[in-house]
């Protein structure tokens, strides 16, 4: 049984302009100890999925259909009390603005001790502190900085503290939403390496959300490319990047400047992402797609298997 199984998940927001279909019909599965990356541009719904997995959608957002099976149980049907046990206890999250997740007037160590004690009340305070010490060692924060306040930490150290906090309760699943976006490349590299190492070392499942393909390619086993609320391509990282099939994945890959290889003219994707309150019929990428044809708008979208585990939501493939 997979650790996490998401079936046909659709999520929407009530907005001033109407009902915004942020995520539509997304299905995926994650095995224990595997990592899955979601890549897409802003507004594609990747963060919304992360929030829905934690059941932390904003008040105007709701899951309109689908199931989220975590260890076989549907998270969407749990009571808020059960869910609280699972949040941080079994599913931890590293937020986009993680730097702000630390309370500025409390020592870092106390904050993590508190998190541990909330989820395992039987533990003594001394043991909890010992645990934090071990955690800081794993994420690479010097022992003597434990009793500092958050503002004394650099951006990278704060992020490490957040990762330590996420690991504190030995979760089965970590959702990392753009954990390194605000960091400089060198720090980002260190944090990514650490995340990758810890994830494999502790056999934690991970959902990694990012707008940056190269980061996801670096960290994840599997990858899902999202566009306008839909998953458009899904498969093992190597397959998706080495032989992309969906026109959007191809376009995204060729719009990135690279450090190596031939310097060729970038191919930007023309136009803008569609309005998700009135999404277009058929393929949502059609208007921006170099190979789009009127028939794409009429055809019912269906998954096409490219190779084992690698599929694409394009009618032409």
């Amino acid at each position: 049984m997979a650790l996490l199984e998401v079936e046909n998940l659709s999520i929407g927001y009530n907005t001033k302009g109407g009902y915004l279909k942020a995520v539509e019909g997304v299905s995926f599965a994650l095995e224990e100890g595997q990592s899955l990356g979601f890549v897409g541009e802003s507004g594609c719904g990747k963060t919304t999925i992360g929030m829905a997995l934690m059941r932390l959608l904003p008040p105007n957002g709701s899951v309109s259909q689908g199931r989220i099976l975590f260890e076989g149980k549907d998270l969407l049907e749990m009571s808020e009390r059960e869910m609280r046990q699972i949040r941080w206890g079994k599913i931890a999250m590293i937020f986009q603005a993680a730097m702000n997740a630390l309370n500025p007037v409390q020592r870092v160590v106390d904050q993590i001790v508190e998190a541990i004690l909330t989820h395992s009340p039987t533990l003594g305070k001394r043991e909890a502190i010992q645990q934090v010490e071990d955690l800081f060692q794993t994420v690479g924060i010097p022992h003597e900085r434990m009793r500092d306040y958050p503002h004394q930490y650099s951006g990278g150290m704060k992020q490490r503290a957040i990762i330590a906090m996420a690991l504190a309760c030995r979760p089965k699943l970590i959702i990392a939403d753009e954990p390194t976006t605000a960091l400089d490349v060198i720090v980002q590299d260190q944090i990514l390496k650490e995340t990758k190492y810890l994830q494999r070392e502790f056999n934690i499942g991970m959902i990694f959300i990012s707008h940056d393909i190269s980061i996801v390619a670096d960290v994840c086993h599997d990858i899902g490319v999202m566009y306008a609320g839909q998953l458009v391509e899904y498969g093992p990282t190597e397959d998706v990047f080495d032989s992309p099939v969906h026109p959007y994945t191809k376009a995204l890959l060729s719009s990135y400047p690279t450090l190596t290889g031939e310097k060729s003219l970038l191919q930007p994707i023309p136009g803008e992402t569609p309005n998700l309150i009135y999404p277009p019929d058929g393929c949502r990428f059609c208007d921006r797609c170099p190979g789009g044809s009127p028939s794409c708008k009429e055809a019912i979208q269906a998954w096409v298997d490219v190779s084992p585990g690698h599929k694409s939501l394009c009618y032409h493939c």
């Binding site: 927001y13 915004l20 942020a22 507004g43 719904g45 803008e272 569609p274 309005n275």
Partner: protein, 310 residues
């Protein structure tokens, strides 16, 4: 692409280039219940003020100040001739009430316009120039801010005798700008850091040009918001002054009416005379306040932003 949406929008905007943002603000305003109640009440009061010329025109005895009913020499309750009754001299209360609405608007709006104008210009100057000018103006503002307006006006009028209604307006304005100027200064300071101001500098725009084109339009909504709150406070100050006997004896304001009730000892015997001006003062200040609250919502950038998902 959201071509359709954009097309229709730019169509509207082409036709109403200047009113475009205004119309959009209106559409948010309309959704606010407070705003609608406030606006309705204000329109009623405005109609009342505008119609205050009608009664004296029908019959001179309805003149709020000098018109005395020849048959009545004391206060009477509502009747067909005097819908809300008469005061101690036999003057019509309804026509006084309508004249009072006119005075309230006059005092409130002109004092508010003046104080907000002062506050906005001083706030922008202090925020934009910074340094010594800033320190000087803000210390001045703080000094004025800690003086209780009502007390100062009372002292002034006891020194200079009865004050004309316009003098009262000017004094209120002079004592009510510091609060506005502090807010506007803060806003100016943050606008100064925004890169559109820097872009204008790089393009070679002068300081005056930057203030007029980039700072002013962005603080103006806030200034308008303050205007509504200042109207409220000006009306209350004027009413309090009049009630305490320091008003302009040649105008009929609601505060003046209350003072007459009080002075002639009808406080507890003539509710038909006491209640109308009292209720009117409460309602008009409340309605300006509600208008301000609704405008606050319009100006809230969180409601203006386009809906995001991600």
């Amino acid at each position: 692409m959201k071509a359709n949406k954009l097309d229709s929008d730019s169509d509207i905007q082409r036709r109403f280039r200047w009113t475009g943002p205004f119309l959009e603000g209106w559409s948010i305003f309309k959704q606010s219940l407070l705003g609608r109640i406030g606006l309705t009440l204000l329109i009623l009061f405005a109609v009342m003020a505008l119609c205050s010329f009608i009664p004296p025109w029908i019959d001179p005895m309805y003149n709020p100040m000098t018109g005395v009913d020849p048959d009545i020499s004391t206060t009477t309750g509502p009747s067909w001739r005097h819908w809300l009754g008469t005061d101690f001299m036999g003057r019509d209360i309804l026509s006084q009430l309508m004249a009072g609405a006119r005075v309230a608007f006059m005092v409130g709006v002109s004092a508010a316009v003046m104080s907000v104008f002062l506050g906005t210009s001083i706030g922008m100057a202090a925020g934009y120039m910074g340094g010594f000018v800033d320190t000087l103006l803000m210390r001045l503002a703080e000094m004025i801010m800690v003086m209780p307006t009502l007390l100062v006006v009372l002292i002034l009028s006891s020194v200079f005798g009865q004050l004309n209604i316009w003098t009262i307006v000017v004094i209120i304005a002079l004592f009510r700008w510091p609060g506005v100027s502090r807010i506007i200064r803060g806003q100016t300071l943050s606008l100064k850091q925004r890169s559109f101001v820097e872009a204008a500098k790089v393009a070679g725009a002068s300081h005056v040009g930057i203030i007029i084109r980039h700072i002013l339009p962005n603080v103006l909504p806030l200034a308008f918001l303050f205007m509504t709150f200042r109207v409220t406070s000006a009306i209350i100050i004027e009413a309090a002054l009049a009630f305490l006997g320091f008003g302009d004896p040649s105008t009929v304001s609601w505060g003046m009416m209350l003072q007459w009730v009080w002075k002639t000892g009808h406080m507890f015997t003539a509710p038909y005379w006491l209640l109308p001006p009292g209720i009117c003062i409460s309602l008009i200040t409340l309605s300006f306040y509600m208008l301000g609250r609704a405008m606050d919502e319009v100006l809230d950038p969180r409601l203006r932003k386009e809906d995001q998902a991600g």
